[in-house]
């Protein structure tokens, strides 16, 4: 809503308050003012001039030589190029020395040998936004109506000194979609009375009843329809002041009939529609639901196919308007119109909203109907428009109004206990002050001590319950005046849950190892949705959750894995020459088996990582460590070690992963994720270089987590260390051998570490040597050599039996 302050002054006294101060007060008390716009930059020395004569320039065909009376002793000779300049016009003249917007200085000049002492101006040159300039003067100079006085400054005449406040209205404050509503709001803020417009009406003897019948089929959808008839009007431009206000409010003036309906729409917030009575081809107005497939050509010259959802105004036969949204072309007011049927109606907001949604047509009228209008202003707005048509279109208004009326105009009654208000706000507002606030708001009330009964004006449809009154009192009293307190009573210890703490711990660990946290999108595209889904997730055959109306193909499905979008981020960096990346992310994936979703999917928290490029680089010491399988395995092992959760890694074949460099991660025999190198084909597809990833079900981790560490006593007795290297077939897994050593050596073997891997010269083809360090310890006593030796030999024997591996000496 654009609020012209010059217009507003007609209803409430705002003299002496600058637009900036007023905007600040309104913002703090009621409605956010988004901006202040001045109609035109300051200009000076521009006055009304009378074109006494207008002849062709002797040396230029397209220029005119005008003698203009500007109220000074001598006429000004001005050369004007506008096509519409003519003798007898009253025009805006920038005299020599004048300054126009854009700091454009007017000087005496010679054009083609003839002197020109000033400039005749268009509205654009005076600073008015092109898009609001009426079409008839858009291509040339502006021509005043005859009643303006020569020599008068044009600034007030053209409302150039106006400031316009741009209101950012919240949906509840539809009352401020009208100048009167704004006036009540400003009056409450400034503690001023509201001056209402003149609503008197002079009518002729003849009654509308003799010419029009009104029929409404469904009072639910259209509780009030009023038809006024104004005869013998003359279609011409509206008065200058009205056109000025419309332009300030962002509406382009058209002609007096259209302008008057728009003016009253803005003044009262009541949409009105003017039909050309003679084009109705009937004397009947019937409001009904459209038939399916029924057609109407609306004012914007679009043919629209209707459904039963749409409410239409008809002449008893055919639609002549889409109710509350837009008129029909067949009954439109034209330059030839002489008799106008004026509609003032109340339509059901939901019905209008449905039509707007369906047709995509949104107008000043429909916006107000959708948000709800004041039932007590419907007829008054009609009267006001009829009066203006009489005054500015020369029409005679027929007596009475033909109406269908089932409209509820009762004020809502809300009770308000002042003590309760104070209790809820933390204030000590007296009953007397409370009454004063209600007076400022213009609300009638009965009072019995702290008991208030409020009769809420119908213009404030948003106020229905006590809490609404709480807000009214609070904002007028001023939020600045509320004290600062801290809650009393119940105190509880806040904090993080175990799960949230664990999440932070995991993040801390990963960051400590050198990983950066990312945030990627949860929505991904069709191509990536099934990429790199962890095997245990895939096993449950999840169906991707698809949006009904995605905004783009890139973000259409809820992810089944964090990895695809995470890898997109890695690729994004690579494309920008950032080739060393170590990322992780914790977030939800969305799992369901349903093809058509009927219940919420399982949102499983997962932890994923992606690493590529150099892991470590220390060039001058010739140390460069690229990311490899064992780097990410080390990170994952470290994490589970830190959390004291044993996990197993098993070689696995997983689609989109390198078949020889990929392992599942299991906990207690259940797969909870995987890690490894991406398949080179996928790497290529995603524009990646060698990249390693991991993906872990965080919920399994959370489930297994205990924040009480598994503590064991520090051993008192010395340990014994033994090394052994086995020569084994290349395809024997070092880890499998380690497991056998551990299980065979238990309970004396406390720890087994692999410390060497050798292939080559001294070994037969297809063999490798893996060296293990075994740590023996007995918590109860000092170990004896023969105990250790016995165990050691047993291990060598078992490994030999199982893996055909023998000791390398």
């Amino acid at each position: 809503m654009l609020v012209s302050l010059n217009w507003l002054k007609n209803y409430v006294d705002i003299d002496g308050i600058s637009p900036e101060v007023l905007a600040e007060k309104i913002t703090k008390t009621g409605i956010e003012v988004d901006g202040i716009e001045y109609i035109a930059e300051k200009s000076s020395n521009v006055v009304v001039g009378y074109v006494e004569s207008c002849e062709k320039h002797p040396n230029a065909d397209k220029l005119n030589l005008c003698q203009v009376d500007v109220g000074d002793e001598e006429n000004l000779q001005i050369i004007c190029g506008a096509p519409n300049v003519a003798q007898g016009q009253k025009v805006a003249v920038a005299k020599p020395g004048a300054v126009l917007p854009g700091n454009f200085k007017i000087k005496k000049v010679k054009l083609r040998g003839v002197e020109s002492n000033g400039m005749i101006c268009s509205l654009q040159e005076l600073g008015i936004d092109e898009k609001y300039v009426p079409k008839d003067v858009a291509e040339g100079i502006f021509v005043f109506p005859n009643d303006v006085i020569v020599g008068e400054s044009v600034e007030p005449l053209l409302n150039l000194n106006d400031a316009v406040l741009e209101f950012d209205l919240t949906p509840n404050r539809a009352d401020c979609l009208s100048m009167l509503g704004v006036a009540y709001e400003v009056a409450a803020i400034l503690n001023q009375p509201v001056k209402l417009p003149d609503e008197s009406l002079e009518t002729s003897e003849d009654s509308v009843r003799n010419h029009v019948e009104v029929e409404v089929e469904d009072p639910e959808l259209n509780p009030y329809y009023g038809a006024f008839l104004i005869k013998n009007i003359e279609v011409k431009p509206a008065p200058l002041w009205m056109r000025n206000y419309l332009m300030a409010a962002g509406i382009r003036p058209i002609n007096n009939v259209v302008d008057i309906t728009n003016y009253v729409l803005l003044e009262y917030g009541q949409p009105l529609h003017a039909f050309d009575y003679d084009r109705l081809n009937s004397n009947k107005i019937v409001v009904r639901q459209a038939k399916n497939g029924e057609k109407i050509i609306t004012l914007d010259e679009v043919e629209r196919s209707l459904t039963e959802e749409n409410l239409v105004i008809t002449n008893g036969q055919d639609p002549i308007a889409l109710a509350g949204v837009m008129g029909g072309a067949n009954s439109e007011v034209t330059d030839q119109t002489t008799n106008v049927l004026l509609e003032a109606a109340f339509f059901n907001p939901s019905s209008i909203r449905r039509t707007v949604k369906q047709t995509g047509l949104r107008s000043e009228a429909s916006t107000r109907y959708e948000k709800g209008i004041d039932p007590n202003r419907v007829k008054r707005a009609g009267i006001r428009a009829a009066q203006l048509l009489h005054q500015y279109a020369g029409g005679s208004v027929l007596d009475e109004v033909v109406e269908f009326d089932a409209l509820d105009r009762d004020e809502k009654v809300v009770s308000m206990d002042a003590d309760e208000i104070n209790k809820r706000l933390g204030t000590e507002i007296t009953n007397e002050e409370m009454g004063k606030i209600l007076n400022r708001l213009g609300f009638n009330f009965d009072q019995n001590k702290s008991d208030f009964t409020i009769y809420v004006p119908t213009r404030r449809g948003d106020i229905t319950i006590f809490e609404d009154m709480l807000e009214e009192v609070a904002r007028i009293y001023g939020y600045d005046n509320l004290p600062f307190t801290l809650p009393q009573g119940t105190s509880q210890a806040g904090g993080l849950s175990d799960e949230q703490r664990l999440k932070r711990e995991v993040k801390g660990f990963l960051q400590g190892t050198g990983l950066m946290e990312t945030t990627t999108y949860s929505l991904t595209n069709e191509k990536l949705i099934r990429t790199l889904v962890s095997p245990e997730v895939k096993e449950m055959e999840p169906q991707p959750v698809e949006l009904a109306m995605p905004m783009s193909e890139d973000h259409k499905y809820l992810r089944l894995s964090i990895l695809p979008e995470l890898l997109q981020s890695v690729a994004y960096n690579r494309a920008r020459n950032q080739s060393d990346v170590a990322y992780y992310e914790i977030g939800s994936v969305f799992l369901t088996k349903e093809k058509e979703l009927t219940t919420q999917p399982n949102e499983q928290l997962r932890l994923a990582g992606a690493l590529t490029g150099k892991w470590l680089e220390h060039p001058w010491q010739q140390e460069v460590k690229p990311v490899d399988f064992y780097v990410i395995k080390g990170i994952v092992e470290g994490l589970f070690d830190q959390l004291q959760m044993p996990v197993d890694f098993d070689q696995a074949i997983i689609p989109d992963m390198h078949p020889g460099r990929c392992a599942t991660i299991s906990m207690d025999g259940e797969v909870i994720g995987f890690l490894g190198q991406l398949h080179p084909t996928l790497e290529k597809e995603m524009s990646l270089k060698e990249t390693y990833v991991f993906d872990i079900n965080m919920e399994a981790v959370i489930g297994a987590y205990s924040n009480v560490p598994n503590y064991s006593q520090i051993p008192k007795y010395p340990s014994i260390s033994r090394d052994v290297a086995f020569i084994m077939d290349d395809n024997v897994k070092a880890g499998d051998v380690k497991e056998i050593i551990e299980s065979t050596g238990t309970p004396l073997v406390k720890q087994v570490q692999i410390f060497d891997l050798y292939k080559g010269d001294n070994l037969p083809e297809g063999k490798k040597s893996v060296a293990y360090n075994l740590l023996y310890q007995d918590p109860e006593k000092t170990l004896k050599d023969d105990e250790v030796e016995e165990s050691f030999q047993k291990i060598i024997q078992t490994v030999n039996d199982i893996f055909d591996a023998y000791v390398r000496f």
């Binding site: 600040e24 703090k28 008390t29 009621g30 409605i31 956010e32 919240t170 949906p171 509840n172 909203r353 959708e370 209790k423 809820r424 706000l425 933390g426 809490e467 709480l470 807000e471 904002r475 939020y479 004290p483 307190t485 801290l486 809650p487 009573g489 119940t490 509880q492 210890a493 806040g494 904090g495 993080l496 993040k507 990963l510 960051q511 400590g512 050198g514 950066m516 946290e517 990312t518 945030t519 990627t520 949860s522 929505l523 959750v545 949006l547 009904a548 809820l558 981020s569 994004y572 960096n573 920008r576 170590a582 990322y583 969305f590 058509e596 919420q600 949102e603 892991w615 001058w620 010491q621």
Partner: protein
Amino acid sequence: MKEELQLLEKEAIEKIEQATDMKELQSIKVAYLGKKGSLTSVLRGMGKLSKEERPVIGELANKVRETITNAIEQKNEGLEQAVLEEKLQKEAIDVTLPGRPVPTGGPHLLTKIVEEIEDLFIGMGFEVREGPEVETDYFNFEALNLPKDHPARDMQDTFYITNELLLRTHTSPVQARTMKAYDDSKSVKMICPGKVYRRDTDDATHSHQFTQIEGLFVDKDVKMSDLKGILDTFAKKLFGEDRQIRLRPSFFPFTEPSVEMDISCKVCNGDGCSVCKGSGWIEILGAGMVHPNVLSMAGYDPKVYSGFAFGMGPERIAMLKYGIKDIRQFYTNDVRFLKQFHNA
């Protein structure tokens, strides 16, 4: 003999002083004090001395031995020191060469902001709750006083999956979920961070996915001045002790009254500048007193219980704090962006 001994001592001391390494010193030691050394051979001639002379010379000989031994030891220490010094000199390195880098990671900027806010409210006795990102129409809208036909639903463009399921447009459903999860005699004091989604085209100021933090406090006799007090405490801790707050009217279907909280602009201290668009104030969050319909739908009697709720956007806070101009930067994960905030 006495002269002989004195000469020997003088000669030995001279040689010791001139010795340049430990090998030479060792041979001096052998030459004078060894079994076949000079001192020993001098002493062998003791038998020829008289009874009176013998102890005198003996004493002198011991003295000479002691002097030479001390001198050798002293010289030895000096030489050892010199050797060590020389060795250390040779070991000197260029300390200006760069050290071996350790891998450095860090949290995402949004996590930092969220955790900072979490910790602030935890300190004020709040717990942290989470809720699903795929929500029901009921919890996302209806339980928050936004029935199906409510015009305010237009304020938010929603990603629907089906008629009843959608991506949550705000973290507010967690309010209703938390209250429903509690029995109705318990006070609620929680904040809820999380991802939310709106049907927007991504550009510098819009993102189809972003973050919100919701707060809710419900108890008997919660006052609007309590909301003002809590928000003031929060704003001062997050943005600095010298910041002022102000509340101004707004509208949210699930609160009544509804307000927006501004903080005084840090750049201009309230005088007006380009950051605050001349107003001196910067909008930080939306808040209000919980609407009675929301309370009663969640099983709390609005005649007995009252409360306040607030919600804010960590992206917006981060953008204000660090002057980030494009919201998409939170989601493209450019290393050069992420790195900058690891120690912010």
